[in-house]
């Protein structure tokens, strides 16, 4: 089998990019992408969970009976989500408050369970980690792009470390539609369309 760590890593970035290509794990993608900071924070938290849950699922893949595997995967994932939750509470409290219930909801992010089921449960740990890292980074990048589009158009700023940077002059009229709920759907729909256009060329 022509399997390489690099290949497993890079497929998550474009070819099987979770939110855009396979359309998995959309809830946080739509909900937290009001500002770039939230988007990146959510992406990194998910990446952490993905890498570690993939690693442990892969290690235990030969011990877990296939009938109860989903339950086992969920327990492994939930453990790491709790760790992320406690870590963020300790070190990045303002971000933790902003992301709110979406941190515990990483447990039910279909992307994480999907990778455990489709990949980590069948492959050795080093590939599983590469896969998790690639998927996670692809996810983070997608969130960053979508949140940048929404934030630049919707409020004319880019937020890093709690400080919004004004991109346009004082006369800028923000297109608030983009930061509100409907803008998330339309923004993601149009980004998908652009990706399809690039792909078809």
């Amino acid at each position: 089998m022509a399997q390489s760590i690099v290949k497993e890593f890079t497929k998550g970035l474009w070819k099987e990019n979770a939110p855009f290509r396979v359309v998995l794990g959309l809830c946080p993608v739509l909900a937290v992408t009001k500002t770039v900071e939230n988007g990146i924070g959510m992406g990194l938290a998910t990446t952490f969970v993905l890498v570690f849950s993939n690693f442990f699922v892969s290690i235990f893949r030969n011990f877990i009976p296939s009938k109860v595997r989903i339950a086992c995967y969920i327990v492994i994932i939930a453990t790491f989500v709790t760790i992320v939750e406690l870590l963020m509470q300790a070190f990045t409290y303002p971000l933790f408050l902003k992301l709110g219930i979406f941190i515990p909801l990483i447990v039910v992010n279909c992307l994480v369970l999907g990778r455990s089921e489709a990949f980590a449960g069948k492959n050795p740990p080093h590939y599983a980690v590469a896969d998790g890292l690639g998927m996670g980074i692809g996810f983070t990048l997608s969130l960053t792009v979508l949140s940048a589009v929404r934030e630049i158009l919707g409020s004319g700023t880019l937020t890093f470390y709690e400080t919004p940077i004004q991109l346009f002059g004082p006369d800028f009229q923000p297109f608030t539609f983009m930061v509100e709920a409907p803008g998330a759907f339309v923004g993601l729909g149009l980004l998908l369309c652009i990706m399809n256009l690039i792909e078809s060329k």
């Binding site: 909900a31 969920i74 939930a78 709110g100 219930i101 709920a181 729909g189 399809n196």
Partner: protein, 191 residues
């Protein structure tokens, strides 16, 4: 009673779980291609969400809070939901086969439906009383079903239209969802 009316309007329309809080979007896009599946999914969600809302509220108040182990909330809630779904599936299969045939394939999908888990967490976060939590779960579930069925109806129509190639399928689906979300957005002034 007034409180419950406000809660109903707020949960079904203003804070619609799908369109305003973005929970449960995977089944929203996945099962909305046909009206039939959308109705099945909506019914399964109403069923599971109300039961999960009830049980997680009890677990949180009488188990996690009394033992002071609230950091285990995520783990315990997901286990409750997963086993509840399994249990409901077995129960329906044995006792109400007709309903099982209708909901069958949608039940396992609900375990990873973040709307169910989300509603349970919202109930705790908003510090609802037992009956408020029960009502909120029901109203959120109705809101989910409503949005899903409207969306499925629109999608069936879109199938007949000629959509530009790059926009096809999920892409146009998301834009449509955005339009429904925009119309729900108008309810914002109500509460």
């Amino acid at each position: 009673m007034g409180d419950f009316t406000v809660l109903a309007v707020s949960c079904i329309f203003v804070n619609n779980i799908l369109l305003a809080q973005f929970l449960g979007n995977c089944p929203f896009l996945g099962t909305s291609k046909k009206m039939e599946t959308a109705v099945g999914m909506a019914m399964a969600v109403v069923f599971v969400m109300v039961m999960a809302g009830l049980i997680t509220w009890i677990v949180d108040h009488y188990l996690l809070k009394t033992l002071d182990i609230e950091y285990l909330r995520t783990v315990s809630f997901i286990l409750v939901i997963a086993s509840l779904v399994q249990f409901v599936e077995m129960f329906l299969k044995k006792s109400i086969p007709a309903l099982y045939a209708g909901l069958g394939i949608f039940l396992p999908l609900i375990t990873t439906n973040c709307a169910v888990m989300g509603v349970c967490l919202i109930n705790i976060k908003e510090e609802y009383t037992f009956f408020q939590a029960l009502a909120a779960s029901l109203f959120y579930a109705i809101g989910f079903g409503l949005a899903l069925i409207i969306f499925a109806g629109l999608r069936e129509r879109i199938d007949l239209a000629r959509v530009p190639k790059p926009l096809q399928d999920t892409s146009i689906g998301l834009v449509t969802a955005g339009m429904i979300s925009l119309s729900f957005f108008a309810f914002k002034g109500m509460v």
